[in-house]
């Protein structure tokens, strides 16, 4: 409710800010853009003869339901989260497997990178790699659309977001489990070897994959809960 001294624009922006998902990285920018539009609209209504307060109230009224605007921004964040999750999963797994292979080729004695090494973990990593790249590829097609830019998708479905999110989470969690059970990481800070470099890279990549997966799942859940925007195009 608008108090006697508060401005309708400030009130609606406060309500919108409260409803925007905290995971949405560009909240301040989004609010600044909506504020600019509302101020412009209020200015136009003042020129038409409305009082400052009535002009702001009209501009806020024209904005539509705050819940729907927040839901549309949540969907925007979800699409971004989905894209990052597919990139982290596909590219991350491919470069990680490549790095271990390269480390093996470079002749570090402790790095084999082959399927038979490290108590069978190589086989598991390779299988995980195939699954990860398949999930990333399917998710990418569903969330990004066809490779040609004018056919790109501009929205994301919560079903595919869950698919990418849980797929990434399972791949990352399995990688961690296999790493500790079959061939524990031996990250040593004293010596700089090929193995320690590759292991460091693996740690960073797995952490990134876990974070993007969790973010993707949270956004998918927000999308499922939110009412669809009025113009879900």
């Amino acid at each position: 409710m608008t108090s006697e001294r508060s401005r309708p624009i400030d009130d609606v922006l406060a309500r919108l800010g409260h409803r925007l998902p905290w995971l949405l990285g560009s909240r301040r920018d989004l609010l600044a853009e909506v504020r600019d539009g509302l101020e412009d609209a209020a200015e136009a209504h003042r020129r038409d003869g409305l009082s400052p307060l009535a002009a702001e109230a009209r501009a806020v009224d024209e904005l539509g339901a705050v819940e729907e605007l927040a839901a549309a921004y949540a969907e925007l964040g979800a699409a971004r989260a989905g894209r990052w999750a597919t990139i982290a999963l596909g590219l991350g797994y491919a470069t990680n497997l490549g790095a271990w292979q390269l480390a093996g080729v470079l002749g570090d004695g402790s790095v084999t990178g082959s399927a038979s090494a490290d108590g069978g973990s190589g086989t598991v990593y390779t299988l995980l790699g195939v699954v990860a790249i398949a999930v990333a590829g399917l998710g990418s097609l569903a969330l990004h659309g066809a490779p040609t830019r004018h056919r790109r998708r501009t929205t994301a479905s919560s079903g595919w977001m869950y698919f990418v999110g849980w797929g990434s989470l399972i791949c990352a969690a399995t990688t961690l489990t296999v790493s500790y059970v079959l061939s524990p990481w031996t990250l040593s800070y004293g010596q700089l070897s090929t193995r320690s470099l590759v292991e460091g890279f693996s740690v960073l990549w797995t952490a990134t994959m876990l974070m993007t997966a969790v973010r993707c799942i949270i956004f998918a859940s927000l999308m499922s809960r939110n009412r669809r925007p009025i113009l879900d195009v």
């Binding site: 504020r35 539009g37 024209e62 904005l63 339901a65 830019r149 004018h150 790109r152 501009t154 195009v233």
Partner: protein, 107 residues
């Protein structure tokens, strides 16, 4: 015009407005209303997220500036956006032609 009739066409409408030159959010809304003769009276809140979505798709590019102490984001059409707009126009032409044929048969 009922907002649900615009459903599915907002991307094309926004790209068409930006084809004439760079514009910020409210200018885009005003242009939509003017060019439609006032019939496209959308809730303004539908336009801002849609512009960001188009930017994420690479169809438009937004830049921040400072105008009278306010931060303002101005959007312009990219080359990919022009191709997307051409595709939207082709799709609309096919769609409206098909609907017109069916409606024409019964009128």
């Amino acid at each position: 015009m009922a907002t649900d009739r615009v459903k599915g066409h907002l991307d094309g409408l926004l790209l068409a407005v930006l084809e004439t030159g760079p514009a910020h959010g409210y200018a885009v809304i005003e242009a939509l209303q003017q060019r439609s003769g006032g019939t496209l009276d959308l809730p303004t809140g539908t336009v801002y997220p849609a512009l960001r979505r188009l930017e994420d798709a690479g169809w438009i590019k937004g830049v921040w500036s400072n105008v009278s102490g306010r931060r303002r984001r101005t959007y312009s059409l990219t080359a990919a956006g022009r191709r997307a707009l051409a595709a939207e126009r082709r799709a609309w032409s096919t769609f409206s032609g098909s609907i017109g044929k069916v409606l024409g048969e019964t009128s």
